[in-house]
Structures are given as structure tokens and as C-alpha cells.
Amino acid sequence: MADVSASKEWDVSAARSQRRRFTWNALLWAMVYPQRGQRIMPTVSGTLLIALALGIGSAAYNSANNILFITLSLLLACLILSGVLSWLNFRSVAWRLELAPPLRAGHEVVVGLGLRNRKTFLPTYGVWFDLVARAVDQGPPAVAESTITGKGLDLREMLAKAAAEEARGQLFLRERLDPWGMTRLEWRFQPARRGRLRVELAGVGSLFPFGFLRKTFSTELAEEVTVWPAPVEYRRQGVAVAPRTAGGERTTRAGSAGDLQALRRYATGDSHRLIHWKASARSRQLLVRQLAAESAEGYSLWLRTDEAIWPRPEQFELLVSFCATLAEDLFREGQLVAAAVDDEAPMPIRRVRDLELFLDRLAVVQRHNENVGGVPSPREGSMRGGGTPPTGMAGKRKNMLTFAPDGARGVAAYADGEKTATA
């Protein structure tokens, strides 16, 4: 499994990132006009303060009373102080998203938001973060449409659909973030669908220091992650495995036991026991042993995504989830050799990383209307997932798992034409 995926760099607050050459004009303009992405709205107390200032101002002008002018000046100065403190509060605060794959549809995901205060001695208080997770559209590019011709109902439906497809969350910095301090806030949500997911830090806001103004600004911090298909329950119906050759057949598949096959660079996730210390010392880089698996029996998975076979989207989703679950189970049992999607080159599954790549592929796989591998015959193809496998899998037809609809909603897996599992 991969480590925590974090943004490569800390994103910094607008107060720091938008630093530019100082000019008095820029300073004055920044005071009266919010910068791009910034939004400042008065709160109840802020509205009260403004109303109070207006009332006192009118009374002051009406009566030429300097006591009222003093009060008005103090109120305005407090408003300025509020702005300065708010700016100091946001200043030099950096954040980054920390996502911990794997993410699975329907399973709770933890999105970490790392915070770091790089101020010298000032702490940061009372900041909140708006997070959004929305699916990255994998479909055809949207065609520009005029909203003038669109019906209100359609628009509402579209908006409702868009809102349903995204998850929103708000994180609060409840405690003080000390100077040079770091903290991590966590947001938990469940992605509804597999696919590419974009997690964004949509906005950062604060009421600090006096709660007069609700100051928010947008950020460009976003992370795209892959959400694997949701695991499904399925029923095995006896696996028909091709007979083992006498004495066992050695293959080039990497495994956890057997003879040394090769040396390769250390990759994240490799067991430390596999490190070849002598070779590492000689080459001054970490090298690990790659061993050949002893067993020869195993399955190849072939997933076909023809729309002709899977006309129903929900059945197709079940197929992808079933395929992913089966792949994981078989890999865990050491019985998965390769996997392929349509006519793509088969992927040998030797390591966890290979399986993850396959699951990444499954996460984004879509139905398509081109017939791949020939249209299966009604007797064999559509019912048993037959067809012509892609190059590289054709010669190893034995123990190849294919999928076919099982009734109106179900999906069945076939091993060399024999039904082995259903979901």
C-alpha cells in the first residue's frame, strides 16, 4: 500500500502568497476592495457595529458633538484593528491535504488537513476550512449550453445532481495553533462512486478576532485520488482449476517463496527482509531480492466492458466491483496471474503494486460501445463471458476468468466457461 499522499508543498494563506512589491496605492486599494477570491461579509455583531457607527455618525454631524465624533473614531479604529488582527491571524499559515489511499467507494475515507503556523511568535486561532470532494467527470466533454433556453426544472435537477455527487465538509481549528506549530484536522466522508475524486480545499474562513466580519477566501489546493470499486459479496460455486503439471511448473511470476529471480531497486512497500544488503552496499542504493513463485496454478482475469453485454449501468457497476473483489481475493490467495480489460495488454500481477494498478484501472473503467474480442455467441458468449481474449492471454486460455450477466441484475464469473461465482 502507498504511504499517505500529501500535497508536495505546503500551500500558504493569501496573506502570504499574494505578497507583492509594496506600494501605498496597492495597500489602500486592498483595504477598500477585497482581493480575488476573498469574501468579507458582516456578521450580526458586525452589522450591529456598522449600524451603531452610522447612528453615532449621524448624531455627531447633527449635533456637532465631539464626544460622538470620538466614539465614531474609536468604532472605526476598532474595525481597522479587526482587519489587522485578522490579517495577522492568517499570515504565514500553511496547509496541505493528506490523503491515505486506498479509497474505496462506500467506505469511510479520512482526509487529513495538515496545518502549519510559520509565524515567529503569534499563534493562529479560530480558522475553519471548507472541503469539497467531487467526482472528476470521466464522460464526454460537456457541450456549451445556454441557460436561457434551459428550463428551470432541468437546471434545478442538474444542480441537485451536482450537489448529490459532491461531499462537503467543514473543519474547525478549535484550539490555538502555536507559532512554529503543526496540527492535523481530519474530515471523514464516504465516496459514493468509484472513479477519480477531486478533494479540494474550497475555502478558508475566520471570524477572528472580534466576530465582526466573516472573512473567507478560496484556495487552489486540491488533490485528485482514485476511488476503487466497492467490495461486494459474492458466492463461489467451486473453482475448476486446470490440472497442475507434474512436479510443479516454475514460472517467472514473482512470489514470496522460491528461488532468486532477480534484484531490483527497493520500492515503497517492499519487505525489509527482502533487502539484499551486500548488493545494496556495493551499489550504494537499496536493492531487494525478487523471488520466483513456486506454484503454477492461478487465474487470469479478463473484463469486457461492451455496452452490448452490459446494457444496464447498475449491472456494470456490480461487474466492476465484483471483478475488483475477486481480483483482491485471488491475489490474497496467490492465485491471480494476470488481468486485462477489453483488448488492453494484460497486466501481470506479481506484486501488490500490480494489483493496485489493476484496481486503479478498474476504478475508471467505463462501458464502451465498441465490440472487443468479437461478439460472443448467444450460447457461449453472452451467457459465459466468452470471446477472443487479448494478445498475451490467448495462449493461456486455461483458468481464465470472464464475466457475464446473471439474470437482470446479477453478474457471474466463469472460469474457462464454467460458472465459478456469482454476485
Binding site: 500529501a6 508543498e9 450580526v44 455583531s45 450591529l48 451603531l52 453615532i56 448624531a59 454631524y61 447633527n62 449635533s63 456637532a64 458633538n65 465631539n66 464626544i67 460622538l68 465624533f69 470620538i70 466614539t71 465614531l72 473614531s73 474609536l74 472605526l76 479604529a77 476598532c78 481597522i80 484593528l81 489587522v84 488582527l85 515567529t120 511568535f121 503569534l122 499563534p123 486561532y125 479560530g126 475553519w128 467543514q170 474547525f172 481549528l173 478549535r174 484550539e175 490555538r176 502555536d178 507559532p179 512554529w180 506549530g181 503543526m182 496540527t183 492535523r184 484536522l185 481530519e186 471570524l207 477572528f208 478576532p209 472580534f210 466576530g211 465582526f212 531497486r265 550504494r284 542504493q285
Partner: protein, 739 residues
């Protein structure tokens, strides 16, 4: 949430306790305005003080109040307000009492956020009303303290709100958890524990900035004269504290003299014009009846004009050549509705529109009502002499035979005593004049001497017996105060055939050396006389009070005269603040704004000019010094200067660790080898440019060692070891590119 803590933090309960404390302090600060507001709200203020203080000491007590009582509060408060309005008929005092009542309620009940805001708004209202009505310097101090507390309070409210966000809200009603066991001493210790002195210092500096910015805004806010005054004053009335009324009983002025508070502050553009012995006239009392001097209805009708509503008034004095002298008076509230003046004047201008009557011949100006706030007015071309020309009275005196017996002219000749006393008075006059007909000035001098046999006393005794009390005192050898002297003098003068009257006001005063103004205190209250001199057609001032010397011609003016009256005491320092407040804040207007801008411009230009001149002179001196013959001593001086500059440069470079280093030098980086080594490792790692993720962890630990408080340090040695490995790894990566 996992938080790396450097210092402890206040818990939510502790924040609530702090909020409760600050809210209570705000309530107390607000209700204490009653001390100088002078409305009848003492009972409510006392009640609020006691109740809120009790709630501060024991925050669990408000929970003992049954919930149903809160439902009765609103109708009860409304009923109180209506009843108050009905009974007193005064809007503003009733509103102030309502405000105090609401503050009292908010101070003793658990508050939500909107209630916290209510406390601030109600408190601000009370303070502003008090400030507008009293224009007191206390307002300045109170609004500053209130603002500081309110900002702190709002800050804590925001922190509480942010700490509560997303958390389960406490159930409303009942005893809140934070109020169950409050120990203020422990909270104080906790607050001290979590406080960083640098943050506190910055907060103080920022608050000073707020004050400075508000001062600048006050100066810069454009002013328009809308000529619409009497804002809140119309909703409140005030009775004079002092005795400067149309009727004066013996002892009234003496009572005022017991009060040493400031009555009038006077600014003058030319201090040399201040007389050595100034008499500030306020009121003329012409009628003597029943042992009391009063302003007769006849004189009031005849001498005063109809009422004006204006900001300016033209007087009887004619303009003189030369630079005009402006006298700016700041008359405190509760003194009188009659304005103190030295004599006749060319023009009098109020800061705000006023309703007033002008007695041109009397040299008096009377406002319609007793001002409830400080009243400022500026007088131009004021006469400072001891005489007051009155041609109208002279004419009336010449034609007195034709005039009615009840004319005001004759009233100033009327003795107001019975026949026996009249005979007694005539006898005394003969003793003074020797039977001769004397000019007014000479009579005044002799009468002054004759009355001098009475010693001065603030607690006089008037002998018992029949007849007029003033005549009885005159015939005795008892001591007396200014009113007795003045009253006796008037009776003697009238008996001698001179029209005479008592004048009340202030005499003397002190020159404040700090603010450069004249200060009159209530203790300077005085009564003296004016007798009419037929030869000059003017009223002649006569002060028969022992040691006053007011009958002598008043010619001395200028610095020498002021030197005797200069006050450099601590009270003068405090009074100078008050005068500054009046001059620069209360009396600030469009004209002052322009003057300030001019002054700032001139000061800037002058400073620039002086700086340039100083720099040029310094360069010239350095050049001359360098051009002079060199010897060892000069070289040593140069070297010492270079060393000094180098030291200053070194100090400047290391200022960061001195100022911002934790503990201000106690744990400075230079002193601590751990900090020094952590800094060295950080520099080494930063040489590699962008940090690799593996180095990031150790970098954070190194930063903690470098800048963090020692209490939060990880074990230094393992961190340095990891840093060493990270640097090694970074170097290796520089040679071997990963696949």
C-alpha cells in the same frame, strides 16, 4: 485533532469563565457612569454593583433563580420604564435607568452571544450619553477602558464560539458546567500560564495604535456645521450646584468657597492682557429687601434684551487697534446660567447655538437654562478695567425726578431698611465723609478703610437685636466674609447718595503653568460692589472685603502679575489634562481642523529644515575634523567609533534572537548550544533547496529545537542523528538519481 502544544491552552470552560468575568467588568464599568452623570440612579447603580459583583464571585448563584422569573423580566422592565416616565416626566433619566436595569439583568444571568452583544451596546450607550451630557474628562478614560475590555470580551466570545463549533452545544437552562466550580485564583494562574508576554506586548501596542488611529480619524473626519445643537441636552435638566442665582442670601457665596473644584478655565491669546487682580463678573444684585440682595424684576426686564437663539453676540465695546485678544471660556456645568466676564466686550461667540439674553448696560449674558454640560464661548475685545460705562443709567439718574418711583435706577439708591437703621446708616456715612460731599472714588476708599475694622472670617456672627442684620453687623466689630462687606458697603454708599449694587462672580484664579491657561475654582467665588460715579458716567468697582484691595485702580498686567498666580502643583497637572481635553477635543471644530493641518504642515516643514541644517552642520564638522592634523588620540577616537559602529551592526543582526528568542535572552540561540546546533543543521538541510519528504520530519523537529520553548523540545541527540542521516541521504540523492 492532534495538536502539537508549546504552551498550555485554556479549556472551553475556562474561556467561558473568562467571558463571564469580562462581561461582569463591562457591566460594572458601564453602570458606574452614574458617578459623574448626576442622574438620580444611585439606588439602581448600587444594586447593580452588588448583584453583578456577587455573580462574579459566585457564578453558580444565577442558576438558583427559578426559570419562570426570567419570563417575568421583560414585562417588569417595561412596567418600570413606563412608571418611571410617568412619575418623573424626564425622558433621558428614565432611559438611563432602564439601561442600567437591563445591564443589571444581563450581568446576573447566563448569556448567549446575542446577550453579550447587548451588554456592549447598552454599556456603550450609557457611556456615550454620560460623555455627551457632561463632556467630562472622565469620559475619555472610561471609553478607553471600556473599549479595551469590550475588545477583549469580543475576542473571548469569538474564541468560545470557534471552540464550540461542531461540538455538542450545552443544554440550555440550569447550571452550566463552567460555572459549577469557578476558582478565580486558579483561572488567573492559568491565564498567566498560557500568556506569552510578546503577544501581550503586541496587543498593548495594537491598542495604542487603535487610540492613535482614532485620534487621527477624529482630526481628519470632515466636519460640517449643521447648526443644530441641543442634541441630548433637551431631554435632561440640571440645577445649579452653586449659589450664583438671582437671589443671594448671606453665606451662599461662602458655601461655594468651600468647593475647590474647577469652575471656569480661561484661555487667552495674549497673556499680558490678564489683569493682576481680575474680577470675573457674573451677576448684578440691585435690590436689598429682608436682609437679602437680589436681582430685581425691574432691572431684569429693563436691562436684559429679549431672548436670542444664536451662536454670536455683539457687545458694547468698540474695536481697538492692534491684534485682537481672544478669551476662550470653558464654563463647567452646575455653576450658573450667567456667564463670567471681565467687562464689556466686542463680540462673544458660542461653540454651539445657544438661547440667551444680553444685558448690555450690566455687561451680563444669561443663558435660558442652567447648562447641563460644559459651555464654551469665546470673547473678543474684552475690557479688563475696573469701570463699566453706563450712559443709560447716567441719563436715568439725571432724569430721576421724572421717572417713576419704581424705576430700576431709583432701586439702586433704595436702602431697604427701616427708619432707625436709615438714621444709623446716615450717621455712619457722616463718620466716613466727615459731612463733606466726596467723589465716588474717594468715598469708596474711605468706606473701605472704615469697614476695615472688621476682621475677615468665613464663620461670622451677626449680633442679635432689632433691625436689619447687615446694619447690626456693621455696627459691631464681628468678623465677616465678602458678602457682608459688600452688602454693608452698598448700604453705606446708598445712604451717601451713590447708586450702588452687589456683584457676584469670581475673583483672582491661578495661572496653570502646564497648560498655559487661567483656572478659576469655586473657592474663588466672591462678592464685591459697584458704585456709580456721576462724574464719569460709569460704574466703579469697589471691593471692601478685608485685604482684597479691589477699590484700588487695577493697572498691573502682564507676566509679572501672572508670576504671582502661577500654579505648578499636581492638581494643576491634572487640570492641564482637562484643559487639553476641552481645547483639543471638546472644542474641536472646522476652524481647529484647518489650524491643526496648518500646524502639522508648519511643524513638518520646520523639522525638515532643522534636520537639513543639522545634517549640513554635522557634515561640515566632520570635514573640518578630518582635515585637521592627525595624532594618536584622533586615530584612537576614529577606531573607537568604528568599533562602536561594528558593535551596533552586530547587535542589529542579532536583534531577532534577542527580541523574539524564547525567554528574551535567557534561552537565546547564542547561549544555548542545542539551539545553535539545530540552527546549523537547518542551514545544512536548506542548502539542498526543496525539502524531500524524508527530511521534512526532522526539519520540523529541528525547528522546534531552534525556536521552540525548551519544555516542548524532543530529545536533541536523536534528532541531530536523524538530521545527519537526512543530510547524508540528500547528498547521496544528489549523485544517484532514483529510478
Amino acid at each position: 485533532m492532534q495538536m502539537e502544544k508549546k504552551r498550555p491552552q485554556l479549556s472551553l470552560d475556562e474561556l467561558h469563565q473568562l467571558k463571564w468575568l469580562l462581561g461582569g467588568v463591562l457591566v460594572l464599568l458601564s453602570v458606574w457612569t452614574v458617578f459623574y452623570l448626576e442622574f438620580d440612579a444611585w439606588t439602581l447603580m448600587g444594586l447593580a454593583t452588588v448583584a453583578v459583583s456577587a455573580a462574579l464571585v459566585r457564578p453558580d448563584w444565577p442558576a438558583l433563580v427559578p426559570a419562570w422569573t426570567h419570563r417575568l423580566v421583560f414585562p417588569a422592565v417595561v412596567a418600570f420604564f413606563i412608571g418611571d416616565l410617568w412619575v418623573t416626566g424626564e425622558v433621558l433619566p428614565a432611559v438611563v435607568r432602564l439601561d442600567i436595569l437591563l445591564l443589571l439583568y444581563r450581568g446576573v444571568t447566563y448569556r448567549q452571544k446575542r446577550d453579550d452583544l447587548q451588554v456592549i451596546v447598552l454599556g456603550l450607550f450609557l457611556i456615550v450619553v454620560a460623555g455627551v451630557l457632561t463632556v467630562s474628562l472622565v469620559f475619555a478614560a472610561q471609553i478607553l477602558v471600556f473599549t479595551a475590555c469590550a475588545l477583549g470580551f469580543l475576542l473571548v466570545v469569538t474564541l468560545v464560539e470557534s471552540a464550540e463549533k461542531g461540538a455538542a452545544r450545552p443544554v440550555a437552562g440550569g447550571l452550566p458546567a463552567w460555572a459549577a466550580h469557578v476558582r478565580w485564583r486558579r483561572l488567573w494562574a492559568r491565564v498567566r500560564e498560557v500568556t506569552d508576554w510578546r503577544v501581550v506586548a503586541l496587543g498593548a501596542a495594537l491598542f495604542a495604535g487603535v487610540v492613535a488611529v482614532s485620534a487621527l480619524l477624529f482630526l481628519a473626519i470632515p466636519r460640517f456645521q449643521l447648526e443644530n445643537s441641543l442634541f441630548l441636552e433637551r431631554f435632561a435638566s440640571k440645577k445649579a450646584r452653586s449659589g450664583f442665582n438671582e437671589t443671594i442670601k448671606f453665606g451662599d457665596v461662602t458655601d461655594i468657597q468651600q468647593d475647590t473644584s474647577v469652575a471656569v478655565s480661561v484661555d487667552v491669546t495674549d497673556r499680558t492682557q490678564i489683569p493682576a487682580n481680575p474680577y470675573w463678573r457674573m451677576l448684578v444684585l440691585d435690590e436689598y429687601r429682608d436682609g437679602t440682595f437680589r436681582l430685581s424684576a425691574l432691572l431684569r426686564r429693563a436691562a436684559f434684551t429679549r431672548e436670542f437663539t444664536d451662536t454670536a453676540l455683539r457687545g458694547a465695546a468698540r474695536p481697538v487697534l492692534g491684534e485682537p485678544v481672544y478669551w476662550t471660556f470653558y464654563l463647567e456645568s452646575g455653576i450658573s446660567r450667567y456667564l463670567p466676564l471681565l467687562g464689556s466686550f466686542e463680540q462673544l461667540r458660542f461653540r454651539e447655538t445657544q438661547n440667551f439674553r444680553f444685558g448690555e448696560e450690566l455687561g451680563l449674558v444669561a443663558l435660558r437654562e442652567e447648562p447641563v454640560t460644559m459651555t464654551a464661548y469665546r470673547v473678543e475685545g474684552q475690557s479688563t478695567g475696573g469701570t463699566l460705562p453706563d450712559p443709560a443709567f447716567a441719563k436715568g439718574l439725571r432724569e430721576r425726578k421724572k421717572s417713576t418711583p419704581k424705576s430700576d435706577t431709583l432701586l439702586m439708591l433704595k436702602l431697604g431698611v427701616d427708619a432707625a437703621d436709615r438714621a444709623n446708616l446716615e450717621q455712619r456715612v457722616r463718620e466716613i465723609t466727615g459731612g463733606a460731599e466726596l467723589p465716588a472714588a474717594e468715598f469708596a476708599r474711605r468706606a473701605d478703610v472704615w469697614l476695615g475694622r472688621h476682621p475677615y472670617s468665613l464663620s461670622p456672627r451677626i449680633p442679635d437685636g432689632p433691625g436689619d442684620p447687615l446694619v447690626r453687623w456693621m455696627n459691631s466689630a464681628e468678623g465677616g466674609h465678602c458678602e457682608l462687606f459688600a452688602g454693608s458697603f452698598v448700604l453705606l454708599a446708598r445712604a451717601a447718595g451713590f447708586p450702588a449694587r452687589v456683584v457676584t462672580g469670581f475673583k483672582g484664579g491661578t495661572w496653570n503653568a502646564y497648560s498655559g491657561n487661567f483656572t478659576l475654582r469655586n473657592s474663588d467665588a466672591h462678592a464685591w460692589c459697584e458704585l456709580f460715579d456721576r462724574s464719569t458716567g460709569a460704574w466703579l468697582r469697589a471691593d471692601p472685603t478685608l485685604g482684597a484691595g479691589g477699590t484700588q485702580p487695577d493697572g498691573a498686567k502682564g507676566e509679572a502679575a501672572l508670576a504671582r498666580r502661577t500654579d505648578r502643583s499636581w492638581s494643576a497637572r491634572f487640570d492641564s489634562l482637562r484643559v487639553f481635553w476641552y481645547r483639543r477635543i471638546v472644542n474641536f471644530d472646522q476652524r481647529s481642523q484647518v489650524e491643526t493641518l496648518k500646524a502639522v504642515k508648519e511643524a513638518t516643514e520646520n523639522s525638515g529644515r532643522q534636520l537639513r541644517a543639522a545634517l549640513t552642520a554635522m557634515v561640515e564638522r566632520i570635514k573640518a575634523w578630518l582635515a585637521g592634523p592627525w595624532d594618536v588620540r584622533r586615530a584612537a577616537k576614529l577606531l573607537a567609533l568604528a568599533a562602536l559602529l561594528a558593535g551596533a551592526g552586530w547587535a542589529w543582526r542579532n536583534r531577532r534572537s534577542w527580541i523574539f528568542g524564547s525567554g528574551a535572552g535567557r534561552h537565546g540561540a547564542k547561549e544555548d548550544p542545542v539551539r545553535r546546533e539545530a540552527g546549523a543543521w537547518l542551514r545544512r538541510i536548506s542548502d539542498f533547496g526543496d525539502l524531500i519528504p524524508e527530511a521534512l520530519g526532522v526539519t520540523e523537529e529541528l525547528q522546534r529545537l531552534r525556536f521552540g520553548a525548551p519544555g516542548t523540545w524532543p530529545e536533541p541527540e536523536p534528532v541531530f542523528q536523524r538530521a545527519r542521516q537526512a543530510v547524508r541521504e540528500l547528498r547521496r540523492r544528489g549523485r544517484v538519481t532514483p529510478a
